[in-house]
């Protein structure tokens, strides 16, 4: 049962991710992106990481997608304003992406997942375990990321301030 669910979610995630790139209309792209996020959140649930799944949906499918849609509606993309890419850059991008895909498929193909040293207890993704790790082993990164947020907030203030002079 879980296996079928896994295949279904993977299929959904890959197809909708492809549609994000392929579809011409940006609003459609965003809607497909939401489906991708939900499919990935489903994978998290299958891996017994409910907290991560919930956060993923709240942050990505909720907050970030609303921002995306808002910006797209504000900008009102029309087809004429989009810069057309040259044939050469399209070919180069396809070749580069294809090589990257082949590398990853080749790297992951022959691997026996049960050998992975990353295998730990199945409760690792639960909120209790996560909290314990976050406030013991990963305390410093947790605190240091406050610097990151301070920097981002200061930056927003800087960009939002009105210039008195046009230096």
């Amino acid at each position: 049962m879980t296996l079928y669910l896994f295949y279904f979610l993977s299929f959904l995630a890959i197809i909708s991710a492809l549609m994000v790139v392929v579809s011409k209309n940006p609003v459609n792209s965003v809607l497909f992106l939401i489906i991708t996020f939900f499919a990935i959140a489903g994978h998290y649930v299958l891996l017994n990481a409910q907290f991560l799944a919930a956060v993923h949906i709240i942050v990505y499918a909720g907050a970030i997608m609303v921002l995306f849609l808002y910006v797209i509606m504000m900008m009102n993309f029309s087809k004429e304003s989009e810069p057309s890419k040259t044939k050469l850059s399209q070919i180069v991008a396809t070749v580069a992406g294809g090589i990257f895909l082949i590398t990853l498929i080749g790297a992951l193909h022959f691997y026996d997942v049960d050998m992975s040293p990353g295998h730990s207890d199945p409760g690792a993704g639960l909120v209790g375990a996560l909290g314990k790790v976050l406030f013991s082993k990963f305390l410093l990164p947790f605190e240091i990321s406050s610097l990151l947020f301070l920097a981002a907030m200061t930056g927003v203030v800087l960009l939002g301030k009105k210039n008195n002079d046009n230096s």
């Binding site: 590398t103 080749g106 990353g118 990164p141 990151l148 210039n163 230096s167």
Partner: protein
């Protein structure tokens, strides 16, 4: 560790300066704080009890302390240089805070012991710069620089994260030491995607150090950003990114060096040749420095490639010599830009007649960047090439020597313009006491590094 505390605290204080109304005190306070941070670093250096803190998240060993002190020193010089720029900006306190936060990220990058800290360090270093690059809100070039840097930077960080995830999948740890031990315990058994992870990490870091072919953002961002921010990007960010790059590869992936050193070699060759050859055609001094910074990334990659006992010292000496000479060059460019309102190399014409000190300092800075004795740049290059030779990379060194000979040509364009070309107006240029002091200090430092390179090299070997 105390250095990091002092810098972070200083950033928070700078942020509060506007509300608590001590804007005037901020400049001396920051300079004093940077001196205190350097002092704290030196005192930790003299009491070598290097215990990893917070579960191996950070380890301030001699390597980390040396790079932290050099970062603080260069930032100190940068603040001296950028005083006029900061005074004209409306949001002075925000500028101070962002620069100091960025520096704190750089210090994390010199000392990380865990992939998580590597990621956070790079982000804290970069995010303030995405904003500062676009701090001229009415200037389109500045907006473009910021946007380009942000989008491409976020993309590169994505590669880095993907790489870290694959490494975690292969070894089951984020800790550099644990990863290294796991590799040593399983020789020849690492799964293929482990190497894919190293590849992706190299792509992410090569973007940060602006090595070709991940350099496309560099010229546009360097030219569009305000000159002082460009100076910060090409000095402090470069030192921090290389310190992190080398720390990761020397502690973590040194035992699988065969799998990645060809790749680094190719990056180094492309960066050296492409950077130097493209720099020849530039008319703008700032753009020329951008391409020259790509070529310097190429030389520095040689030391990472040859990974041995001398590499750390070589990278330290090279980044320091490069950063000090760049600060001099940017200080002169700032003065010239203020007069002519453009950054063409022609604007340097007749500089020697208008102000000999400016001409002399740009000459020494250019000689150092080109790698001509007795300046610091010469010995730095010599040590790097020597390190690569001990590693047995003769062909790479030959290419590097050819590349640096090409480099001499365009560095001399600025020297020739300032000494031998006639000036369009003959008025003398007045320098403030601060500018004079800065130029004298950086020029003397460049010469001092050239005269006593052993002192700096012996710190880290």
């Amino acid at each position: 560790m105390i250095t990091l505390f002092i810098i972070s605290l200083l950033g928070v204080i700078a942020m509060l300066a506007e509300i608590l109304k001590f804007k005037k005190l901020l400049a001396p306070l920051t300079l004093l704080g940077l001196i205190a941070a350097m002092g704290a670093g030196v005192s930790e250096w003299n009491n070598p009890v290097f215990i990893p803190v917070f579960n191996n998240m950070l380890l301030f060993n001699h390597y980390a302390l040396a790079f932290s002190i050099s970062l603080c020193l260069v930032t100190f010089l940068w603040f001296l240089m950028a005083q006029d720029y900061l005074k004209t900006e409306t949001a002075i306190t925000d500028h101070y805070a962002l620069i100091l936060f960025s520096l704190a990220g750089g210090i994390v990058l010199t000392a990380f012991g865990n992939m998580v800290m590597l990621f956070l360090g790079i982000e804290i270093l970069s995010i303030p710069l995405y904003i500062l690059a676009g701090s001229r809100k009415t200037d389109l070039a500045s907006n473009e620089a910021s946007f380009k840097y942000f989008l491409l930077g976020a993309f590169a960080i994505g590669f880095l994260l993907f790489g870290i995830a694959l490494i975690y999948g292969a070894t089951g740890s984020f800790e550099l030491n644990t990863i290294n031990q796991y590799i040593l315990q399983h020789p020849g058994e690492m799964p293929a995607f482990f190497y894919a992870g190293i590849l992706l990490i190299i792509a992410g870091l090569a973007f940060k150090v602006s090595a070709a072919p991940f350099h496309f953002w560099t010229p546009d961002v360097y030219q569009g950003a305000p000159t002082m921010i460009t100076a910060f990007m090409s000095t402090i960010v470069k030192i921090a990114a290389f310190a992190g790059f080398f720390r990761l590869f020397s502690t973590c992936f040194v035992s699988v060096a065969d799998s990645w050193n060809q790749l680094i070699g190719i990056l180094a060759i492309i960066s050296m040749l492409l950077g130097n050859i493209t720099a020849i055609r530039q008319d703008s001094f700032k753009r020329m420095l951008a391409y020259s910074s790509i070529s310097h990334a190429g030389y520095l990659l040689l030391a990472i490639l040859a990974i041995n006992n001398h590499s750390a010292g070589a990278i330290f000496l090279y980044t320091l010599a490069y950063a000090v000479a760049s600060i001099t060059a940017f200080a002169v460019l700032k003065k010239v830009y203020a007069l002519k309102n453009n950054d063409l190399i022609e604007s340097f014409n007749g500089l020697a007649k208008r102000n000999p000190l400016l001409a002399l300092s740009i000459t020494i800075a250019m000689l150092s960047l080109a790698g001509i004795p007795p300046t610091g740049g010469f010995f730095a290059k010599y040590v790097i090439f020597n390190t690569a030779l001990t590693g047995g990379h003769l062909w790479l060194v030959i290419i590097a020597v050819i590349a640096s000979l090409i480099g001499v040509y365009y560095y001399f364009k600025a020297i020739i313009a300032s000494w031998f070309k006639p000036a369009t107006d003959e008025n003398l240029i007045e320098l403030s006491l601060q500018d004079k002091l800065l130029l004298i200090i950086t020029t003397l430092l460049t010469l001092a590094i050239g005269l006593f390179p052993e002192f700096i090299l012996n710190l880290l070997s």
